[in-house]
């Protein structure tokens, strides 16, 4: 009975998380489009619903009803697999991300996360790494020149930044002494307890890594439209195409922003000024700020060249993280 309850609970929660994430991702497109619109001094979506509120639904309908063209010369298995491989790992990271403190509804204690693993962070990193395959497969299976160059570029960027990202996370982990995301949040008490004050270098590297992993502007070489038309997803159409930006630009950005909030901004910690819901509100507020600042960077800067990006990854970011680990270790040793 115990096991059945747990399984049922996790299943229900997973379904809620996945469906919620889908809806959220759809509305994140609206956020991005509105944000980009106002950055560029235009209104953004305006006509579908009140201030474009129904635009994501219209977009989803459009993309779902588009003709799904599969070119003749593609490797069909990999071609189909690629869009799933880009999408599924991004959403699986969600399993280990806690969104707040447990709450009690009708006597049930409900945890706002699917599981709290003691290796949660490593799992998140692992899932993030899998999503590289989606891009490489897409580039390879398309059997076309632009996607292949785009896929290889993305692979070069991702490999560089995965390493830097992994080492950047070591700092907060050392401070918290745990891999569990929930416990990392609990280790950050109060305003000055947030790890951003102790790990600024790690945060900067992490920020760069998010931009590179999600293919946002200074690092969006894989789909540099002036050179490669659309990069690795040139040959895709319909919803298979839709999954790529959805996974990369929205779900991955969202999830990585959530990890950034947990690691550096004290997660849901904050003054209890919103009553019972205040942890969630604080978490979403911080998440929103991180997400928006990523959008801000995206819509402002030009992009690097691919060799410059990998150069930054290996020659600047990676040494920085080593320095960070070294300094953190010394401080921990001195403080005991």
């Amino acid at each position: 009975m115990e096991i059945l309850g747990t399984v049922l609970g996790i299943t229900i929660k997973s379904v809620i998380f996945i469906v919620g994430m889908f809806l959220l991702a759809a509305y994140l497109t609206l956020v991005e489009r509105k944000f980009a619109g106002h950055v560029q001094q235009r209104p953004g979506p305006l006509h579908v619903g009140f201030h474009g509120l129904l635009q994501p639904i219209a977009d989803a309908l459009k993309v779902l009803t588009k003709e799904d063209i599969v070119p003749q010369s593609v490797d069909r298995v990999l071609f189909y697999l690629a869009s799933l491989l880009a999408f599924v790992p991004a959403i699986m990271i969600l399993a280990v991300i806690p969104f707040g403190e447990p709450i009690e509804i009708f006597g049930f204690k409900i945890n706002p996360y699917i599981t709290d693993l003691n290796v949660g962070l490593i799992l998140a990193l692992a899932f993030g790494s899998i999503s590289i395959y989606g891009v490489i497969f897409a580039g390879w299976a398309s059997n076309s020149k632009y996607p292949m160059i785009g896929g290889l570029r993305k692979a070069a960027v991702l490999i560089g930044y995965e390493v830097a990202l992994g080492f950047a996370l070591v700092g907060p982990i050392m401070l918290a002494g745990t891999f569990s995301l929930r416990e990392i949040v609990e280790a950050q008490e109060g305003f000055f307890g947030a790890f951003i004050w102790y790990q600024p270098i790690a945060f900067i590297v992490f920020l760069f890594a998010i931009l590179a992993e999600t293919g946002r502007t200074p690092f969006d070489v894989q789909e540099a439209e002036a050179e490669l038309v659309s990069g690795y997803n040139t040959e895709y159409s319909g919803m298979k195409f839709g999954l790529f930006p959805l996974a990369e630009w929205y779900i991955a950005t969202f999830v990585l922003s959530a990890i950034a909030v947990i690691l550096f901004f004290g997660g849901w910690n904050g003054p209890h000024i919103f009553g019972a819901l205040s942890p969630y509100i604080w978490f979403l507020l911080k998440l929103g700020i991180v997400f928006m600042s990523l959008l801000w960077i995206h819509w402002t800067l030009p992009r690097y060249r691919v060799d410059q990006i990998t150069e930054i990854a290996w020659k600047v970011m990676l040494p920085l993280t080593f320095v960070n680990i070294f300094i953190t270790a010394i401080i921990i040793m001195i403080k005991g």
Binding site: A36, V39, Q40, Q41, R42, K145, Y146, I149, R153, T217, P218, D220, V221, A224, E225, A226, E227, V229, W299, T300, L301, P302, R303, Y304, R305, V306, D307, Q308
Partner: protein, 582 residues
């Protein structure tokens, strides 16, 4: 200043068979074919002459003359600050190639071969320029009909239920097949050298139009590159041989469609000089002002798309915000936004409307702060610098070799600006500076164009001041016999009506002669070489396009760099396909 007497004597001494003609402030030399290379080398390398900049090369067809074709070369001397035209008859339909003297002659000679069938002895790769390989005809020859030769049976044109009202023929002029295109592609590359051949275009977001780039890639490094032009070739030179001088004005709009007014002005100035028409003072000032407005407009579009190519999406919309204001001003004055055809021989089409000056004044006041906004985002931006600095360095020698003009030449430190060297309109009365670069890379070209916009604002300010004092002046010199009367005049006077009729039907009967005159377009020197036989239409109208010559250096300096740099280089050279292809 033109050549002095002593220099001319020196030339005739050295080349006794030289025929010299001085017309329209320009020296025309005619020399025998066997002495051509010697003469050109002399002009290029002798001190005090140093005609070392290649401006243009073309041919003229005289079907009744023997030999049939005449080669025409235009050269410029940075020391004498003037141009000369050298002509030679192509005996046996062939001319010696100039690529050993000027690399820029490569494409021009290919174009002459493509259009006239003139052979160039010693050319490294004499293939078609605009047409496809396997095309049988040479379209600019006088015996080729303007409408083409309908010979390909294409019944699909007629296979429809409701037959169109006009006469549909199942025969069509020749169209390239896939095999033709493949053959064209193969003719450009000798053999496959590296890993993959990447095609850009004919329709590609990075090429700003329908250019077809071929890259031979090793990884992302370009080993070899070539460009196939001609997707937008409309044969404006051919068409204008059958139109009156006024009718050609709209065609010049459609060459460089981003800076239509500048093209108009360059053309109209050439024709006016040929016809000896003097436009009124006010028209000159309006032309100068409109030209500079158009220059800012064009540079804004360049900045937006250049930044867009480099991933800065927002600048694009910021520049369009300002561009829209200029478009509105142009629409208010000319009535049309893009292809305005605002210029007329002998003046401009309309007087300035009421309220135009205050609007422009406001724009001029407002624009520098916006320009600063763009510079804040880009100029000192590390990513922008990393992408631009050191990419596509063009040195002074290359400028002369390839005949590069416009901002590309000035960024390499060559003070070549037609507005200063050969001022038309009111450019000799306004005060402005020519920004020069030092390195000649993409970043310099960016800085030069940004500074040019600032200088344009200064010119516009001076034009407004002057135009305020000329409020009630004439804007078109309709008392000249070559100038079309305005609509108002044709309504009230029968003489004007008759004149209008005559000019529209028979055209401006230009005196026999020839002229080469150019204007400073945002994309480089736009020159018009007009040969008149005393008819109402030009015998030959050659358009020297700045973008065509500027683009020629692209395959040369992109070798060994990546395709990401190709985008930057292409953006900074800023060709417009309407002008390269004409």
């Amino acid at each position: 200043m033109p050549l002095t007497k002593e220099k001319i004597e020196k030339l005739t001494e050295k080349f006794p068979d030289l025929k010299i003609k001085f017309e329209n402030n320009l020296y025309f030399f005619e020399i025998k074919k066997q002495n051509l290379i010697k003469f050109l080398t002399f002009l290029k390398e002798t001190p005090d002459f140093e005609y070392k900049m290649f401006i243009d090369m073309t041919c003229v067809d005289y079907p009744l003359h023997k030999p049939r074709f005449q080669g025409v070369y235009v050269l410029y001397s940075p020391i004498n600050k003037d141009k000369v035209v050298i002509k030679t008859w192509a005996e046996d339909d062939s001319l010696p190639t100039l690529i050993n003297l000027w690399k820029g002659a490569k494409w021009a000679e290919r174009e002459a071969y493509d259009m006239f069938g003139v052979n160039f002895e010693g050319h490294e790769n004499l293939v078609r320029m605009f047409m496809w390989e396997g095309y049988k005809y040479f379209p600019l020859r006088k015996d080729f009909p303007k409408e083409g030769i309908p010979e390909v049976y294409l019944p699909s044109l007629n296979e429809r239920n409701n037959i169109p009202s006009h006469d549909y023929s199942p025969y069509h002029t020749e169209v390239p097949t896939m095999e033709d295109l493949e053959r064209t592609e193969k003719a450009r590359f000798e053999k496959k050298q590296a890993q993959i051949i990447l095609n850009w275009g004919p329709l590609h977001p990075g090429t700003h139009g329908t250019i077809w780039f071929l890259f031979d890639l090793e990884g992302e490094v370009i080993k070899n590159c070539d460009i196939i032009l001609g997707q937008l070739h409309r044969g404006i030179e051919k068409l204008s041989e059958d139109l009156t001088y006024t009718q050609i004005i709209p065609y010049t709009d459609r060459m460089d469609y981003i800076s239509a007014i500048c093209s108009n002005v360059a053309y109209v100035n050439a024709v006016e000089k040929l016809l000896n028409v003097e436009p009124p003072e006010k028209a000159k000032w309006i032309r100068t002002m409109m030209c500079e407005l158009q220059r800012i407009n064009s540079h804004l579009l360049w900045l937006g798309t250049f930044a867009l190519d480099l991933g800065a999406l927002t600048i694009f919309l910021y520049t369009f915000r300002e561009r829209e204001k200029i478009m509105d001003i142009i629409e208010g004055i000319a009535g049309i936004r893009l292809n305005s055809s605002f210029m007329r021989i002998g003046g401009v089409r309309f007087d300035l409307p009421e309220g135009a000056i205050p609007v422009i004044k406001h724009f001029v006041k407002d624009f520098p702060s916006k320009l600063k906004e763009y510079e804040d985002i880009l100029t000192k931006n590390r990513i922008w610098q990393k992408r631009n600095v050191g990419v596509g360095i063009i040195n002074e020698e290359q400028v002369y070799q390839y005949g590069l003009t416009g901002a590309v030449a000035r960024a390499s430190g060559v003070p070549y600006d037609i507005r200063m060297l050969q001022p038309t309109d009111s450019y000799d009365k306004v005060d402005f500076e020519i920004p020069l670069g030092t390195v000649g890379d993409s970043y310099d070209r960016y800085l030069v164009r940004m500074e040019e916009m600032r200088q344009s604002i200064e010119i516009i300010k001076q034009c407004i001041e002057k135009l305020n004092t000329l409020e009630n002046d004439d804007y078109i010199a309709t008392d000249n016999p070559y100038v079309l009367p305005t609509l108002q005049e044709t309504f009230i006077s029968i003489e004007a009506m008759v004149k209008d009729f005559n000019l529209r039907i028979y055209g401006e009967q230009a005196p026999e002669g020839e002229i080469y005159l150019s204007g400073e377009n945002p994309r480089g020197e736009l020159g018009f070489y007009i040969v008149s036989k005393g008819e109402g239409k030009p015998y030959r109208l050659r358009i020297r396009s700045g973008a065509f010559y500027n683009l020629q250096i692209f395959p040369e300096i992109i070798k060994g760099r990546t395709i990401a740099d190709a985008v930057v280089l292409l953006g900074s050279i800023d060709p417009v396909v309407g002008e390269t292809d004409r």
